[in-house]
């Protein structure tokens, strides 16, 4: 079987299009690349969706944590503490069994036990908590003068946030947020290794990589391929976030623009 046929059969295998049975016997390099690449669809889906929705929640959490009203501040603080203080792996397990019990109460919760929704919710809350903490830190480091200028112009409430605080908060938080985005994409590999089932062997990149490693008992081929895909993904994220960073800093004089760090921190 030529490589082109393999790609046709397995490129979309992770979302259930193409050949139903996974390849058997002697695996070619092409099959490794195609199937693991196909699994990346899930990683990108989880990462993009969780980041996209999580961003808004994170901003809300950051503002909540900085609030003077303790009825708003305390819930935000606890939410961030719970999701940052416990392992994501345990969160996945807990959420899965929670949804499983809820399913018995009402069939509305049926889709929540599937990875595409259940795991997405966990990732969404998790990234919101981590980014919320980053944004909160940035919100507190906004130069005093900015807020005083807002006062001088008579800006209050929503306008003050929208025009003054939010843009500076984003600008300050962006490098750290880029780092968080990279880690979120890494975290998506945990989904199918926690309780969420890979229905009909539709899994993510790591699921297929470990499938190959289990079958061939040779870790030296599938895992480097997975690493290759993830390094590629990381570079794309750094590139895209770098463009946003450029836009966020466009009003600053050239030498004061914060350079995008192309060596992001390795710790979440």
């Amino acid at each position: 079987m030529s490589c082109l046929e393999t790609i046709q059969d397995y490129a979309l295998r992770s979302i259930g299009i193409g050949e139903r049975l996974l390849p058997k016997g002697d695996y070619t390099l092409c099959e490794h690349f195609t199937l693991i690449g196909s699994g990346m669809i899930w990683n990108i889906y989880f990462g993009v969706m969780a980041l996209g929705f999580g961003f808004f929640f994170a901003v809300a959490l950051a503002v909540g944590k900085a609030s003077n009203n303790r009825w708003i501040r305390k819930p935000a603080e606890w939410f961030i503490f719970i999701f940052r203080g416990s392992p994501l792996f345990i969160q996945f397990f807990f959420a899965y069994f929670l949804f499983l019990s809820l399913k018995q109460v009402h069939p509305v919760f049926d889709p929540f036990t599937a990875a595409w929704l259940g795991a997405l919710i966990v990732l969404f809350m998790n990234t919101a908590a981590y980014s919320g903490e980053i944004f909160y830190g940035a919100l507190r480091s906004i130069p005093k003068g900015d807020n005083e200028a807002a006062d001088a112009y008579g800006l209050t409430g929503w306008m003050r946030f929208r025009r003054i605080q939010f843009p500076t908060m984003m600008r300050l938080a962006w490098p750290a947020y880029t780092n968080e985005a990279i880690f979120l994409f890494h975290a998506t590999t945990l989904v199918f290794f926690s309780a969420f089932p890979a229905w009909r062997q539709k899994g993510d990149a790591l699921y297929y990589a470990s499938y190959f490693a289990d079958k061939t008992f040779n870790p030296f081929i599938p895992y480097p391929i997975l690493a290759f895909y993830f390094i590629l993904l990381t570079l794309v994220i750094v590139g895209l976030f770098g463009l946003v960073n450029k836009r966020l800093n466009r009003h600053l004089p050239q030498e004061r623009r914060s350079k995008m760090r192309f060596r992001p921190n390795i710790i979440r």
Binding site: F89, F94, F217, A227
Partner: protein, 295 residues
């Protein structure tokens, strides 16, 4: 365990629970908590040693050693750590077996990789197939510790490298002015001072390490996640004296609280350690402590 536990079906409420939570199987859960603590206790220093070696190598004046150190720290970026865990457990196992194979069976002619099998001679198997069960279990644990140490060593190397670079240049210049050799400067001036700069990164790393311990489950160790799944599952009255429904959610809630408490305690301890290490340092925190003593 208790004398009144002989007939659980007659018990109710708290007495039932006290009997239920002290069954032999639950002992497995409690022991596995110690497995996690043991892993942390062994891995943290091992990873620090790996990290220290990596950071020193990255600063080396010998180019190949520097490249080695730098690529070791660079390699963990960009790739999910769980992929490393899954990779190293098999790779290390095969590496050890291959080495033993080379030493113990030099006249073996068959290829080691036969299709989808990895075949070494019987004497090279690790652990030996005749070894008792506990050796198999501890071998798996040692592999897990090594894997954790390699991955977190790379993280630690990055942090320590940053810490070494943060030590004020003037300190090292003073050491040179006193006629210290590079080796003396490194051990007497740089190393004692770098910890306070590395501490924020290292405490962060400790938190990440705590939160990575449930991944032991993926490495085939009977850890708390394994026991929580095992004990929480629906138990039929036919097979056990303590029948119950699907309680896994409660077991994982317990694990969630356990980890939250653990991180909180660590946070408090690390905060105190930061204050302790700031004493006499040329940093803002150290200066503050000095003024407090004087006042």
């Amino acid at each position: 365990m208790f004398s009144y536990c002989t007939d659980p079906s007659q018990l109710e409420g708290l007495t039932w629970l006290s009997c239920y939570l002290t069954t032999g199987k639950h002992a497995g859960l409690y022991v596995s908590v110690f497995t996690v603590l043991l892993l942390l206790a062994v891995t943290a220093p091992t990873a620090l040693v790996f990290g220290f070696a990596g950071a020193s190598a990255a600063r080396s004046r010998i180019a190949p050693l520097r490249w080695l150190g730098k690529s070791y720290t660079a390699i963990v970026r960009g790739v999910p750590d769980i992929a490393f865990f899954l990779f190293f457990v098999i790779a290390l196992d095969q590496g050890f077996e291959w080495l033993r194979h080379q030493v113990k069976c030099p006249d073996w002619t068959d290829p080691i990789r036969q299709g989808n099998d990895f075949v070494v001679c019987d004497a090279a198997k690790l652990p030996l197939s005749t070894a008792p069960q506990w050796i198999h279990e501890s071998y798996a644990f040692v592999l897990a510790v090594l894997t954790f140490a390699i991955v977190f060593g790379a993280f630690a190397a990055n942090v320590l490298y940053g810490g070494m670079r943060a030590v004020p240049r003037a300190q090292l210049e003073t050491a040179e002015a006193y006629g210290m050799t590079p080796r003396q400067t490194f051990w007497r001036i740089l190393v004692p001072q770098m910890w306070i700069y590395a501490l924020p990164g290292l405490s962060n790393l400790w938190m990440v390490l705590i939160k990575a311990t449930p991944l032991l489950f993926l490495l085939g160790i009977e850890d708390i996640v394994y026991w929580a799944r095992e004990l929480g599952g629906t138990k039929n009255a036919k097979f056990t004296d303590y029948p119950h429904g699907d309680w896994r959610i409660w077991y994982f809630l317990f694990l969630l609280v356990f980890y939250l408490a653990f991180t909180r305690v660590s946070e408090i301890v690390l905060e105190r350690l930061t204050v302790r290490l700031s004493r006499g340092q040329a940093t803002a925190a150290g200066e503050k402590l000095r003024k407090e003593v004087q006042a």
